[in-house]
Amino acid sequence: METTQQFETVIGLEVHLQLKTKTKIFCSCANDFGGEPNTRTCPVCLGLPGTLPVFNKQVLDYGIKIGLALNCAINNVIKFDRKNYYYPDLPKAYQISQFDLPIAKDGFLLVPSLNNELKKIRIHRAHLEEDAGKLMHDAVHPYSLVDYNRTGTPLMEIVSSPDMHSPQDAYDYLQTLKLTLQYLDVSDCDMEKGSLRCDANVSIRPKGETKLGTKTELKNMNSFKAVKAALEYEIARQTSVMLSGDKIIQETRLWDENKQMTFSMRSKEEAHDYRYFPEPDLVPFTISDEKIQSIKKMIPELPIDKYHRFIEHYHLSDYDARLLIQDAPLADFFEICAKNFHDTKKICNWLNTQVLQELNERKAPISKTLLTPDNLIMLIQKTDAGIISNLAAKDVLKIIFETGKQTEQIIEEQGLAQISDDVTLEKIADDLIRENQKVIEQIKNGEQKALGFLIGQAMKKMNGKANPKKIGDILQRRIFHG
């Protein structure tokens, strides 16, 4: 009797990425998100009879950049092909895509996984194509409407090899891929807005079997979490089909986010014959080695390399390094701070907690805020020196984000400096000892809680500005040594 543990999962992912070029892929309409329906259109992207596509060279540059970052070979000659099918959001009834000469092929992505190992996921190919429009249905009208604003948005389709073996693998791959693409600054990578979309191919096979099982293709996942959930559901479904002795049917299945289930959309028999053939309206393009080299120079340090460098050079923990590289501007900010302040652990503590929280609230990259590395270092130093309390430091940070004022100025203006001068503090300690004889007895009997109570009283008297560590020291000295 076979059981769940006897199967191995095989997953391959197809990611569609909208490239944020200035104009669309085959016409000069603005490439943007949203807008009143059918306002960002022209005869070319509407596919009107007689119009012809003209290839946007910025798309080519982005395509090469992505290909290189994914360690792909760039084809020196590329061409476009027509993928023929009928759908109301596809005004020419064919999509201009790439069939047998994609811009990039045979690459890989190194994916850090939870247990600190790097998994190598191969990239089978990546090609350029145009996006379709959007259908708008509602429950009221007996018709649907089409918005062609999205038609002609440049897309890069990145196809992985079937190298992933669990939903978590797929999730990690997507995270790493997205981060890499964000570093390249070629796409918004926003799944909610549809600028990054993912279809998954999944099959299972008995462990030890080398032949691939029959796959199903999953569509309609709107987040990485949904991809994971859909895969989990589908693996369980396929497993139970296999265990019951039935055969998996090759088909396309849609993920239903509400029901958390996949549903059959079409079987292989109903699959389209796309009748690919070379697009006669566009001539093949040659990509020179010089061009590839010049684009290679424009690729920034990629997240995986940054991760390794941070650990090696700054001795960061895996956790800190991993968190920092998630946000390229934040990582850059960290490096500037680290140049001027030796305690990289402390910088990370600030960046990866309070600062990150502020950034999340503001939904802005750190480069677009008023916080500067100098100001943050000053804040860390003031806190370290006991000049302000940790609590006050958080307030200072908030004010920096709001006003951009210098740390010192804020401390002064807000009167946040802790009172640390011995004369004042000792007077307060004496007063407290006099007023709380009962508590003193308890402290003498070793009740630490009672000391805390006294420190609290001192803070109250000083409107929270006393340096709590210092007043504690003074109280203890006076109580035990007179």
């Binding site: 009107l48 009879p49 007689g50 119009t51 109301p88 053939f277």
Partner: protein, 469 residues
């Protein structure tokens, strides 16, 4: 004055001498249309009150094939499926003509989507040959050729995918040029077969063809397949001298099916050019026999994809299904396309869909592309030692309306001499060379190297100048 019978260069001279005006020329065309259009039916749509500006460079009345887009004018490819379609933009050739001051008379009738050699497959009914009304004008630019031959326009634009300018020019006794692929922008030409289509002039004489080419030719950044090569002044190529030019006569073009009168006319033309000093040589273009088959695979494959957009969603005809059979959108597609396309269009869409289908692609489309390369190489080799190649334009003179309508194969064979120029991308011209039985014109075809339209003009001009002497 019978201005409508004159050529553009004659009219431009009269204007220069202040002996006529753009208005007067237009009126002469208008009244000719009133007289003969009911018999000829050259036009699919005649434009009311066209813009006429005196003192423009070239205020010549021009007829435009119904597959070339003009802003806000019905542009229907003479198909029901494009009923009511008025493009919101001008084709590049229209922009260029507009800038020269040309006067647009109307959209001319054509075989539906340029699928045909007789203009009988038009949704608007057939065009008649002005030389003999019961005969076809040829096709698919039959309306354009008939309009010029019937003096219902001074100039016309046609499009040529497998002979659609040259064959009707031959049948109607006018000059028709298919330029080199990439010489004239295709932007705004509703595509039949994108890798074969070219827009070209149909005129009364060779000088007019050169003048019209001066206006429409040239690189266009809107057409990625247009060639970024400077264009010469084509009138400079109108040289009455062919001394020493080496011209090939391909033996594969003089075979069974070629009528005696056409053969005789072509050899008479060759004799005339010989007397003028041209050197002739029999040559072989060994893959000629495969041209028609190759053409019908490549052209229909591209057409099946190009015509897919006519689906009733955005423009043109839409048949709203009365009841659901499959699903609402599929029903709409099927009913619209079933009602909108004629028989020949459906035949070609099915042929093309078949040859691109998975499992058949290698055997048909891919093989077609390979044979196309071989045909192209035949010409490349020939032009290593030749300046031009001369052949008949068509195997026969114009046939009767209805004669081949139910015999697609014999209809396809009427393009046998013109198709190779499209497959290999070279320029080719048809000029009237004689009159045959029943007063029907006979055309002579001259082909040259890519982008050497000047050679065509030189030989054609020499022939035209000397044929009546």
């Amino acid at each position: 004055m019978t201005l409508q019978t004159l050529t553009a260069h004659e009219l431009l001279n009269l204007i220069k001498q202040k002996k006529t005006s753009a208005q007067e020329i237009y009126r002469s065309i208008s009244s000719q249309i009133e007289k003969t259009e009911k018999d000829v039916h050259a036009y699919a749509h005649i434009f009311q009150n066209p813009k006429i500006e005196e003192s423009r460079e070239c205020p010549i009345p021009v007829a435009i094939k119904d597959n070339i887009c003009i802003t806000d004018k019905l542009t229907t490819c003479s198909s029901k499926i494009l009923s009511g379609f008025r493009p919101p933009y001008n084709a590049t050739v229209i922009e260029k003509l507009k800038n020269s001051g040309a006067v647009f008379i109307g959209h001319t009738n054509m075989d539906e989507f340029a699928f045909g050699s007789s203009t009988e497959t038009s949704y608007y009914g057939p065009t008649h040959n002005p030389h003999k009304l019961e005969c076809v004008p040829g096709g698919s630019s039959g309306g354009s050729a008939a309009a010029v031959a019937a003096n219902e326009a001074i100039w016309a634009l046609g499009s040529d995918t497998g002979g659609s300018i040259r064959q009707p020019a031959a049948f109607c006794g006018v000059v028709g040029l298919k330029p080199t692929y990439g010489r004239v922008s295709r932007y705004g030409l509703i595509a039949f077969a994108s890798s074969l289509d070219q827009i070209g002039p149909i005129t009364k004489d060779v000088r007019d063809a050169a003048l019209l080419m001066n206006i429409i030719a040239g690189y266009d950044e809107k057409d990625s397949t247009s060639a970024n090569i400077p264009i010469p002044d084509y009138t400079q190529a109108l040289i009455d001298n062919v001394k020493g030019l080496k011209i090939g006569i391909p033996k594969e073009y003089f075979i069974e099916g070629l009528s005696e009168e056409v053969k005789r006319a072509v050899f008479n033309a060759i004799d005339l050019l010989k007397k003028q000093g041209a050197i002739f040589k029999e040559i072989s273009l060994p893959h000629t026999a495969y041209a028609v088959a190759t053409y019908y695979i490549v052209a229909t494959a591209e057409a099946s994809s190009n015509l897919a957009r006519f689906d009733g969603v955005q423009y043109g005809l839409r048949i709203q299904p009365q009841k659901t059979r499959k699903n609402p959108i599929v029903d709409l597609y099927e009913e619209t396309r079933d009602a909108g396309f004629g028989l020949e269009a459906k035949r070609r869409i099915m042929l093309g869909t078949y040859s691109l289908s998975s499992g058949y692609y290698d055997a048909y489309y891919l093989k077609g592309l390979k044979v196309r390369t071989l045909i192209k190489q035949d010409f490349e080799k020939a032009f290593e030692t030749l300046d031009a190649i001369i052949t008949p334009t068509t195997p026969t003179t114009a046939f009767k309306i209805g004669e081949k309508a139910n015999d697609p194969l014999s209809m396809y064979l009427s393009d046998i001499y013109t198709i190779s120029a499209n497959l290999s991308g070279i320029p080719a011209i048809s000029i009237p060379c004689a009159t045959g039985k029943d007063n029907l014109p006979i055309g002579l075809q001259i082909m040259a190297k890519p982008f050497d339209e000047e050679m065509l003009f030189r030989i054609s001009y020499t022939f035209e100048k000397n044929k009546n002497h």
